[in-house]
């Protein structure tokens, strides 16, 4: 019962505050002075702040038109001064309150608080403390008592202390106390209210809200003390409030005061006084059409009636409330319960049952509402949990995606790295192969060069050998001519001279001379043939070779010659070379091999020419060929090699010697 009263009271205080500012209606002098100041001053900043204050004041006095006018005036000046510009945010937030737009009011308050933070002045601190107190009220309205409390204690109070504004500070303590009272923490509320009382006593009395604040604190303190059964203290507070209020009997603060007084009288069991106080309060409230206050006072009346067992009056009060006041459900429920009890006491069972049922129904619906609210809250919570779950799922998903993405990144990176590696490898191999190719080409070139050099070397050797051979041949021819033909001709000449000088002709001598001459001619023929055989030039290689073999054969040595498919179109120089090779081989065989049979076989197949010379002689050591065979065989080899030919020598003591020579024409 008492709790509900308190609840109503709190609701009243907190909710009603904007619409129903408690005032002693004693602002006239202050508003006048402010109006005067605004008119007279030339300092814009003073004009501005005064206009803001005046607008605030008018708004409290519900003179909204005047308030809007001064607010507009202040707003024209404010932008010129950074501090005032920020202060303006607060003053401009108040119209939101008038319209009942609590959310935007709170937002503007927060904004003003933030903007004013940069000014480290007492004015700024005080103003911010005041703003924060309002913000705290907004939080309370939004059912966030914890935040409201936090704002008051942690932010507003330190600022108020820094600002040195005790009135604001005491107001803050009062606000905290109200929150405690709201939560049935009466003892805690008492300590805060004590501080509030102390600060308000210290506060400057010049403030235009000083008296109101003071009255409010003492009224609330009284109510709290009464509730705590500290009736002496309660009486003191009541007296303090009355001290001020008695000068303002019409003030709307009287409603609150009479409630506390009535409650106090009720507690000290002066029921008639209590009822009187309540009635005065109701009268005051009705003066301002303050239905909430009036209903609260009316409901309060049922306690003293009840205490005096005036059940009929209780019934009347409650019926009046329940039928005419259009109460909140909570109130209606309480009214119903009281009515049921009252009818029971009056013996009106039917009505007792009716209101009892109504109470139960209201209670149920209230519970239902509560449970619905709870369900809604639960649902919200569940939804929140669900959402959180979803969020966490999403986050997990995101994490997973991120992980996958990172893995993919890693894979891609790896892939790229491998690709790059492969590319490098390929490039490396390519370059390597290119280099190898280059080297190979270089080698081939070198090889060719070496080969050419070797060939040149060989050619030079052959040339030298040929020159040497030519020289020795010339020497031989010269010797042959000189020793043979020359000597014979000389001898012939001497004989001629002898014949010439003697008168007689010696026939014998002429015969001798004839023989000499014939021998000379034969000798000459031999020399000529040795130089180059006529048959080679006239009849070709085959005939020449045949002649050669024929000529060289003796009774002891048989020479067989076979020619196979030798063509006549072999170049003459080639024919001579081949002839010379065979000649050399035959002469070697005849000179050294001591053989009895020699086989010469020559054949041609396309551009290849084959020479085979075999004997059945004593053979020779091919490995020592170069040493003892002298120039002849070496020249032969060189000659064959020069003609891109091959020479194959197979020699043994038992089987004689075989020369297989292959030439390309």
């Amino acid at each position: 019962m008492k709790n509900k009263l308190l609840l109503l009271f709190i609701l009243f205080v907190s909710h009603a505050y904007p619409q129903r500012v408690y005032t002693l209606d004693d602002d006239k002098s202050y508003t006048d002075s402010l109006t005067q100041l605004i008119k007279s001053t030339r300092v814009d900043s003073i004009k501005c702040i005064s206009s803001f204050r005046l607008a605030d004041l008018y708004r409290r006095g519900k003179k909204n038109e005047l308030a809007d006018g001064y607010l507009a005036l202040a707003n024209t000046i404010a932008p010129k001064y950074p501090f005032l510009k920020d202060v303006a945010v607060y003053y401009n937030s108040i119209p939101y309150l008038s319209k009942g737009d609590i959310d935007n009011f709170g937002k503007q308050l927060s904004l003003a608080n933030t903007k004013l933070k940069k000014y480290k002045t007492k004015d700024s601190y005080s103003l911010r403390a005041y703003i924060l107190r309002n913000l705290s009220i907004v939080k309370q309205v939004q059912n966030n008592e914890k935040e409201a409390m936090r704002i008051l204690i942690e932010e507003a109070m330190p600022l108020a202390e820094k600002g040195g504004n005790y009135e604001v500070l005491s107001g803050l303590y009062k606000s905290v106390a109200i929150i405690f009272m709201n939560n049935e923490e009466r003892t805690k509320a008492e300590t805060y209210l004590k501080s509030a009382k102390e600060y308000i006593e210290k506060a400057s009395k010049s403030s235009y809200t000083y008296k109101e604040t003071k009255v409010e604190i003492y009224v609330i303190d009284s109510e709290n003390m009464t509730h705590l059964e500290k009736l002496v203290d309660a009486k003191k507070s009541l007296d303090k409030a009355y001290e001020i209020l008695k000068k303002y009997p019409k003030s709307n603060m009287n409603g609150g005061y009479y409630f506390s007084e009535g409650y106090y009288f009720y507690k000290i069991k002066q029921f008639e006084n209590s009822l009187k106080s309540y009635d005065k309060g109701i009268a005051n409230s009705m003066l301002y059409q303050d239905v909430f206050s009036a209903n609260r006072l009316k409901f309060a009346k049922h306690l003293p009636f009840k205490a005096m067992n005036r059940h009929e009056d209780v019934k009347n009060v409650l019926l009046d409330l329940i039928e005419n006041s259009n109460p909140f459900i909570v109130d209606e429920k309480n009214y119903s319960l009281e009515l049921a009890q009252t009818f029971e006491k009056l013996g009106d069972i039917k009505n007792a049952y009716k209101y009892s049922s109504r109470y139960i129904a209201l209670n149920d619906s209230l519970n239902e509402i509560q449970s619905k609210e709870k369900i809604t809250a639960l649902e919200a919570k569940f939804n929140k949990a669900e959402n959180e779950k979803k969020i966490s799922q999403l986050e997990a998903q995101r994490e997973r995606d991120k992980l996958i993405a990172e893995n993919n990144k890693l894979y891609y990176g790896l892939l790229v790295a491998i690709s790059v590696l492969l590319l490098l490898l390929v490039i490396f191999l390519w370059i390597n192969s290119k280099n190898q190719k280059k080297i190979a080409i270089e080698h081939a070139k070198n090889y060719t060069q070496n080969l050419t050099a070797l060939k040149n070397q060989k050619e030079i050797e052959v040339m030298q050998a040929m020159i040497k051979g030519e020289e020795s041949e010339r020497k031989r021819i010269a010797r042959d001519l000189h020793d043979g033909i020359g000597s014979m001709l000389s001898s012939l000449k001497m004989r001629f001279m002898k014949v010439n000088s003697s008168s007689e002709v010696d026939l014998n001598e002429i015969d001798n001379m004839n023989t000499l001459l014939t021998n000379s001619i034969t000798e000459l023929r031999q020399v000529s043939y040795n130089l180059i055989p006529e048959s080679l030039l006239k009849l070709g290689l085959e005939h020449a070779l045949n002649d050669l073999c024929h000529m060289l054969k003796t009774e002891n040595v048989r020479i067989d010659f076979h020619a196979n498919a030798i063509k006549d179109d072999i170049p003459e120089s080639m024919q001579i070379t081949i002839y010379r090779i065979v000649q050399e081989l035959l002469s070697n065989a005849l000179k050294h091999s001591k053989s009895s049979e020699i086989l010469v076989d020559c054949s041609q197949n396309q551009s290849r020419f084959f020479i085979t010379v075999e004997d059945n002689g004593i053979g020779f050591d091919t490995s020592k060929m170069d040493v003892f065979e002298g120039q002849g065989l070496k020249n032969l080899k060189n000659r064959v090699e020069l003609l891109n030919g091959k020479i194959e020598i197979d020699s043994s003591k038992e089987r004689g010697t075989v020369f297989n020579i292959e030439l390309s024409l």
Binding site: N514, T518, I521, T522, R525, S528, Y529, P533, E534, S535, K538, L539, H543, A544, N546, D547, H550, M551, K553, R558, D560, H562, N564, A565, L599, D601, S603, Q604, N605, Q606, R608, F610, T612, E614, D650, R655, V658, N660, E662
Partner: protein, 211 residues
Amino acid sequence: MTMIKPYKTLIVDDHPIVSEGLQVVFSQSKEVEIVRIFKTGSMLLDYGGLGKIDIILLDVFLPDINGIDLCLKIKKSHPKIIILAMSSQAERSIVMQMIKNGANGYLLKSASLDEFKNCINKAVEGELAFSNEVKGVIQKTSIHDLKTVPRLTRREKEILLLLADGKSTQEISDTLFLSYLTVQTHRRNLLNKCQARNLAELLKFAKENAL
């Protein structure tokens, strides 16, 4: 032979010393009358009076036409003319070639007057006439010119053995480390030497002659 002495004779030789020497030698002879001397073969071929000529002394080596070929041409147009080849060389193949082409004899230029006369007489009588030195060259041949079993080289014998084993040319070239062409040539030579038309004949011939 209805030849009336002195025989009307032409000399074909590019060396004036030889031809003039011969002219001098024969000038006192009653058997040979030197009608004309030509220095080239073409001059002889252009000469119109070949029909009345009995003997031609033909140098084997002329500056324009080969005496061997010239001999064949004259013999074809005037088979009755006796041609005696002359050369300063006595090379067997040339002598044989000359005789093949219808020459009636072969003399060395260094031969004596008597030899010339003898040869001319022999030729007129229808014999082949050779001067002494040429005779020596010819005679040497007689033994081996007979057709005998061909002599095979050692390499040819190797190849023949492998052929008898049924080896192909390629296989033989692989075995003996010779080129394909070389083996092919040897194989061809073998067939030619043994006058065989195919491998079977060659192998038969080889077996018969115990090669």
